[in-house]
C-alpha cells in the first residue's frame, strides 16, 4: 500500500479558522440591500378547517410590503414523492399548533411580527388525533386524505424465513415491550433563509439546509419555475442532525415573497419555530419476541413497531421501514418478521433525526438481548460477541454486508472499560452496561427514482497550482468540505489548504443528494477520488513527455510530480499543470459515484441497503441514586468500526458528539405535548425547558477507532456521524439494571421511572417501568420472502419472481433496468436515510 500523506492523520478543518473566529457567515448573517423581513402566522389550533382569512388590516399596516396565504401557493410538496402532503402555507386545513397559514414581508422584523397579529383567521376546529392509539382509532377524523388505512400513513408487514418455526425450535423465547419517546435535533443554529429575485426572472435562495438538491426541486415545483432559474446555496449549517433535511415551508415562502416584492426577503426562525419544524425522532412503541439457543444465538426474531408520525409525511415512509430494516445487520438473525405502522397525529411532523428510525429498535433489541443474557446466565458481552453477523454475507432480509469489525469493537470496549472487573461486581448504585449497533454509510437508493449518480465532484486545475473542487454536498459541521479537500489532496499529492472547496450551490456544483444518511464521506469521497485520478491522468502524459520519464514512473507527492526512481527529477505541481495546460488546454475533470446494487428485490427492499455498514460497541458506566432515581453517567467507552479514518480527529468528534446526543436521549430529552383540553400545545418549545444536557452532564468518553478498510469506502472509509449514537441509550439502560437491578424499558430513563421501578422491586413486583402491550392492530398478512439461506431470489414468494431460479447467496444480481425498477417500484420512490 502506498504511504498516505493526508488520509488518516489528524488535521484541522478547512473552515476551522472562520468558525472559531466567528467569521463564518451563516444564513442569518446575510444582509442584502433593500432586504425585507418575513414572519409566519402560525396556527393556534391543532386541527381545524380554515373558514376565512382576512389580511386587509395586515396589508395596510406600517412597513408591510406583501402578505401571502395558502391561496397564493397551492402546489403541495414534500421530501418523498409518495407523500407530498405539505403546503408552504396551509390552504384549507391546519394540522398542528404551529402550522403556518400566512406570511408577511415587511421592512423590519418587528413590523412583520406586528402585522401577523393583524391577520384575522376564522377556524372551524376539528377533533384531534393525539397519540398512536388514537391514530389507529377508525372513529377519528382523517388528518390526510391519503395513507394505507385511515390515519395509518404507512404500514409494513413482511417475513423473511420461517419465524414461527424458529421460535418453536428455540431453547428460550422472550417477549418484551418498549417505548421510545420523541425528541428533537436542537441544532444551535435556528433555520434561516434569504431569497433574492433577479431582474432576469431568477431566484436565489440561501438557506441553512442539509439538502439543497431537494430544496431546488421543491421550490421549482411550488413556484412553477424552471429549475434552471432557481439557485439554491446551502449556507454553512450550525448543526443539522437531520432537522434541515426536508424542504421547509419557510424556504418556499421567502422565495415566493421575493418574487412578489422584487426585493430580497429573509426569515430567521425563532427557537420555538424550530421546534415546530421538528422532523425529529418518532415516538415509537415496540414489541420484540426472539427465540434463541442456549448460547444466545438467535433462531428467529419477530419485531413490531408503531410510530407516532405527527402531522405530515416527511421521511416517514422511510422511517417506518428503518425501524425494521437494520436489526439483521448487527447480529445474525436467520428468520425475521417485521411489522410496522406509522400514524398521523396533530403534532409537529417527525422525520429523520440522527440514526433515522433505528435508535428506537436498537434500544429495544439491545435491552431485550441484555435480558436474554440474564435469563440464560450469559455474559452479555460474550453473548453478543458470538452472534455478530459475519462479514461478506447477505442477511435474511437481503442486505449485503461487506467489512464487519463489530467483534473487534466488542473486544476493545470490553478491554478498555474493565468490563470483566465491573459487570455485576460494582457496589449497589453503580453499574456498567453494554450495547452494539450498526449503521449505513449512505443509502443504496435515492429518494426519488433515478439511475444517475448520487454524488459528483468536478475539479478545476489552473496554472497557479491551486485546485478548485466543486460538489453539491453541504457541510453541516461534520467536516464534509474538509473531507473533499483531503481526498483530492491525497490523490494529487498537494496540501488540503491548496484546494478551494465550493459546495452546496446548485448553480455551480454538480449534484450531491445531500448531507443525510451518513452518505457524504463515502459517496462524495469516491466521486472526489475518481475526479482526482482523472485529473492526474491529464497531467501525467504532459509531464512524462517534458521530463522524458515513462508515465508509469511518475508519482504525485509533496506538491510535486516526480520520477519515483529518481525523485530529484520532477516538477512542482503548479508546473505540472502549466505543462499540461500548454499542451492540451484548460484542465478540468469530473468524477461521480453510484452505489452498488443490492440483491433485495421485494417491495421495501430499498430501505436498508448501503455500500458499507459501520459498527459500534459502547460500554456505559452509571451511578444511580436509589433515593431519587437520578442517573449520572461518568464515563462511556466506545469503539467504532470506521473502516479507515479520513481524519481521525473529525471521526472522534462525531463519536463524542454522538455520545453527547445519546446521553440527552436516554437521560432527559422529551418532545411532548399537553392534552387535547390544552390544545395539544408543545410542552416547552424553548432551550431552557426542553431539557438537553449541558457540559455539566457530559461524560468522559474513551473512543477507540477500529480500522478495517472497506473496499466500497473512499480509502476504505465508512460512516461516523450516526452509528456511534445508537448504542448509547441501551448501554445506559443496561447499566442502570446492573447498578440497581431495575429495568426502565423506556427512553428517556427519567428519575421518576427508576424510582417507581425500585419501589415495585421492593414490593416484590416486576422491577421495571415500561409498556406492557402494543395495540391490537390488524396488520395485513405478511409478505413472505425466502432468505438467501433458503435459496430465495430476493423477491416476494408469491410474486412473479418466485418461478425464477434463485441465484447463490451473494451471487450476481440482475442488471439494473425496467424489471428491477418495477420489482422494487413503490419503494424506489420512498426511501432514504
Amino acid at each position: 500500500m502506498t504511504e498516505r500523506k493526508v488520509i488518516g492523520t489528524p488535521r484541522r478543518k478547512v473552515d476551522a479558522t472562520a468558525k472559531v473566529t466567528g467569521a463564518l457567515r451563516f444564513a442569518d448573517d446575510l444582509f442584502l440591500p433593500r432586504m425585507l423581513h418575513c414572519k409566519l402566522l402560525r396556527s393556534r389550533h391543532p386541527h381545524a378547517r380554515i373558514v376565512r382569512i382576512d389580511t386587509t388590516r395586515a396589508s395596510t399596516a406600517e412597513g408591510v410590503i406583501a402578505v401571502l396565504t395558502g391561496r397564493d401557493l397551492p402546489i403541495p410538496f414534500g421530501i418523498l414523492p409518495v407523500s407530498e402532503d405539505e403546503h408552504a402555507l396551509c390552504p384549507d386545513v391546519v394540522r398542528f399548533v404551529g402550522d403556518p397559514v400566512a406570511a408577511v414581508a415587511a421592512t423590519t422584523e418587528e413590523a412583520a411580527a406586528a402585522a401577523c397579529d393583524l391577520i384575522d383567521v376564522e377556524y372551524a376546529p376539528l377533533d384531534t388525533v393525539a397519540s398512536i392509539e388514537e391514530g389507529l382509532d377508525p372513529g377519528k377524523p382523517h388528518i390526510h386524505d391519503y395513507g394505507d388505512d385511515g390515519n395509518v400513513h404507512k404500514r409494513v408487514s413482511m417475513e423473511f424465513g420461517e419465524v414461527d418455526a424458529g421460535l418453536a425450535a428455540a431453547d428460550h423465547v422472550r417477549e418484551d415491550f418498549f417505548f421510545y419517546e420523541g425528541n428533537t435535533h436542537l441544532p444551535m443554529e435556528q433555520h434561516a433563509s434569504l431569497a433574492e429575485w433577479s431582474a432576469d426572472g431568477r431566484v436565489t435562495v440561501w438557506s441553512s439546509t442539509q439538502t439543497p438538491h431537494y430544496l431546488h426541486k421543491a421550490i421549482s415545483k411550488v413556484l412553477e419555475m424552471s429549475p434552471a432559474h432557481v439557485r439554491i446555496i446551502a449556507t454553512p449549517n450550525g448543526g443539522g442532525f437531520g432537522g434541515k433535511s426536508d424542504p421547509f415551508n419557510h424556504e418556499v415562502v421567502v422565495a415566493a415573497l421575493a418574487r412578489r416584492t422584487g426585493r430580497p426577503v429573509k426569515i430567521a426562525l425563532t427557537r420555538e419555530e424550530v421546534f415546530y419544524c421538528h422532523r425529529g425522532r418518532h415516538p415509537t412503541l415496540m414489541r420484540i419476541k426472539t427465540g434463541v439457543k442456549r448460547d444466545g444465538s438467535i433462531l428467529a426474531m419477530d419485531f413490531t413497531s408503531f410510530l407516532d408520525g405527527g402531522a405530515y409525511g416527511s421521511y416517514g415512509v422511510a422511517s417506518t421501514y428503518y425501524t425494521g430494516a437494520l436489526q439483521t445487520v448487527t447480529y445474525e438473525v436467520p428468520a425475521y418478521r417485521f411489522r410496522g405502522a406509522r400514524v398521523f397525529t396533530n403534532k409537529p411532523p417527525c422525520g429523520p433525526k440522527r440514526g433515522h428510525g433505528t435508535p428506537q429498535p436498537r434500544f429495544a433489541v439491545e435491552v431485550h438481548l441484555d435480558k436474554i443474557a440474564e435469563d440464560l446466565s450469559l455474559d452479555p458481552a460474550d453473548m453478543r460477541r458470538r452472534i455478530v453477523q459475519p462479514p461478506d454475507s447477505v442477511t435474511a432480509n437481503w442486505l449485503r454486508i461487506g467489512t464487519m469489525a463489530l467483534g473487534s469493537c466488542i473486544d476493545e470496549t470490553v478491554k478498555a472499560s474493565g468490563w470483566r472487573d465491573k459487570f455485576r461486581k460494582l457496589p449497589f448504585g453503580r453499574g456498567v452496561g453494554i450495547a452494539c449497533s450498526s449503521y449505513i454509510s449512505g443509502a443504496g437508493l435515492p429518494i426519488y427514482w433515478n439511475n444517475m449518480p448520487h454524488s459528483s465532484v468536478q475539479l478545476k486545475l489552473d496554472r497557479s497550482g491551486g485546485v478548485a473542487a466543486f460538489c453539491g454536498a453541504t457541510d453541516i459541521g461534520q467536516g464534509s468540505d474538509s473531507v473533499l479537500a483531503y481526498c483530492v489532496a491525497e490523490i494529487l499529492g498537494i496540501e488540503p489548504l491548496d484546494i478551494r472547496v465550493v459546495t452546496g450551490d446548485t448553480d455551480l456544483t454538480p449534484v450531491d443528494l445531500g448531507s443525510y444518511s451518513s452518505r457524504v464521506t463515502l459517496m462524495m469521497g469516491n466521486a472526489a477520488i475518481q475526479a482526482a485520478e482523472r485529473a492526474k491522468q491529464m497531467l501525467i502524459p504532459a509531464v512524462a513527455e517534458k521530463l522524458r520519464v515513462p508515465a508509469g514512473r511518475l508519482v504525485f507527492g509533496g506538491r510535486r510530480v516526480f520520477d519515483v526512481e529518481r525523485p530529484e527529477t520532477g516538477v512542482s505541481f503548479a508546473e505540472a499543470v502549466q505543462i499540461a495546460e500548454a499542451r492540451n488546454g484548460a484542465i478540468g475533470s469530473v468524477g461521480s459515484y453510484t452505489p452498488p446494487r443490492s440483491p433485495g428485490r421485494y417491495k421495501g427492499a430499498g430501505v436498508g441497503p448501503s455500500p458499507a455498514y459501520s459498527y459500534s460497541c459502547a460500554v456505559a458506566e452509571v451511578e444511580v441514586d436509589p433515593l431519587t432515581g437520578i442517573v449520572r453517567v461518568p464515563k462511556v467507552w466506545i469503539a467504532h468500526d470506521i473502516g479507515q479514518s479520513i481524519n481521525p480527529m473529525l471521526v472522534i468528534g462525531q463519536v463524542e458528539g454522538s455520545v453527547y446526543m445519546g446521553l440527552g436521549e436516554i437521560l432527559m430529552e422529551e418532545m411532548t405535548y399537553r392534552d387535547a383540553e390544552r390544545n395539544l400545545v408543545h410542552h416547552h418549545p424553548s432551550m431552557l425547558e426542553y431539557k438537553s444536557p449541558t457540559t455539566m452532564e457530559m461524560c468522559d468518553v474513551h473512543t477507540i477507532l477500529v480500522n478495517d478498510p472497506d473496499p466500497n469506502g473512499p480509502f476504505g472509509g465508512k460512516e461516523a456521524g450516526q452509528g456511534p449514537l445508537l448504542p448509547i441509550m441501551p448501554a445506559v439502560a443496561n447499566a442502570v439494571f446492573d447498578a440497581v437491578g431495575v429495568r426502565v424499558d423506556e427512553v428517556p430513563c427519567s428519575p421518576h421511572k427508576v424510582l417507581r421501578a425500585l419501589k415495585e422491586k421492593m414490593k416484590g413486583r416486576a422491577a421495571r417501568f415500561g409498556p406492557t402491550s402494543v395495540p391490537d392492530y390488524a396488520f395485513p398478512p405478511v409478505t413472505r420472502i425466502l432468505t438467501p439461506a433458503q435459496g430465495g431470489t430476493g423477491r416476494e414468494l408469491d410474486g412473479r419472481a418466485h418461478s425464477e431460479v434463485g441465484g447463490p447467496v451473494g451471487g450476481p444480481v440482475e442488471q439494473a433496468g425496467e424489471t428491477t425498477a418495477a420489482a422494487i417500484g413503490g419503494l424506489t420512490r420512498e426511501r432514504d436515510r
Binding site: V97, E110, V681, P685, E697
Partner: protein, 335 residues
Amino acid sequence: MLRLPRFTLLEPRTIDEAVAMRASAGGDASFVAGGTDLYPNMKRRQQTPATVISLARIRELQTVTGSPEQGMTIGACVSLTTVATHPVLARHYRAVAHAAHTVSTPLLRNMGTMGGNLLLDTRCNYYDQTYEWRKAIDFCMKRDGTICWVAPSSPRCWAVQSSDGVPVAVAIGSDVTLASARGVRRIPAAALYNNDGIAFLTKAPDELLIAYHLPAVGCPPEAGGSWRATYHKLRRRDAFDFPVLGVAARVDRDGDGMVRSARIVLGAVASYPMEIPEAAAALVGSRLDPLTIGAAADAAFRPAKPMDNTDFTLGWRKEMVRVYVQRALEELAED
C-alpha cells in the same frame, strides 16, 4: 428572533432619582437591574412596561458592607457572581453564596443581581412561553387570560416561586430595605412574599428593593458560630436550570449540639417560600441524629404540594422533598 417591545429607558444615578422617576412614570413602569429575568419576559410579552428604569448606574446599590459579627448588607445591584465568590460571604454565609452560585450559568450570574434574584417573577410552564404559544391556549390569568391551566377550577394563580436566593433569605432570617418616594422601610424577608402566583410580593409596585441584610453570625465558624445554614437545590441539570425544589435550612445549636431553634424553608413548591414550622419543631430540643432528621423530613414532605407546572412529574417532586430535607439536615449535622 424574538424582539423586545418598544419602551423608554431611564438611567438614574441615585436611589432618590430612581424612586422619583418611578413615581412620575406612573403604573406602567418597571425597575431593571441585570435584566436576565425582565428582558426575556418582555420578549415573550409577559411584561410590557412602557418605561424601564435601569439601576445599573446607581453606585450605592453595588456594595457589600458590614461584618459577620455585626451582620452584612448586600446592595441590590451586586452581581450574583460577586455574591457567590465574595470571600467573606463564601466563608460566613455559605448558604447565601452557594444559592447564588447555583443560579443559571456563569454568564447570567455576571449580569443577574442579588436584588433581582430576590424579586424573581414566579414561573410556570403555562406562563413562561411566547405570546404566540400563550395565545394558542387562550392565555392564562397571570397575563392576558382568565384561567389557571395548572388548576382550571382554581380562582388563583399557581405560578412557582423559583428563586434560589429567596428560601435562603427567609430561612436565615434576613431583612430587606425598600425605598419609594414615600420613604424607606426595612422588613423581614419573610414578609416580602405572598402565596399567590400573581401577587407574589407584598411590596408596592413602586417600591425599590435597595438592600439585603444578612443577620450577624455571632462568632467565626471555626469557633462554633451561632448558627448554620445550607441550601440544597433540585433541578434537571447542574447548570442553567431554575430549581424545581429548593431546601434552605438554618439550625441554631447550643454548645452540646442540641438544636435551640431551626427554620426550614422550601422553594419551588408554592408561589412563596414555604416555611415548614412542623419540620423545625421536630428538630428543636434534639440533636441532629438520623431519627430526628427523618422526622423533620417527614414533616416537610406532608404539606409540600408541587403542581404540574415545572420540569419533572409532580409526584416525584413531592417525594424529593423528604430526600432533600433529609440531605440538607445531614449536611448540617456533619458540620
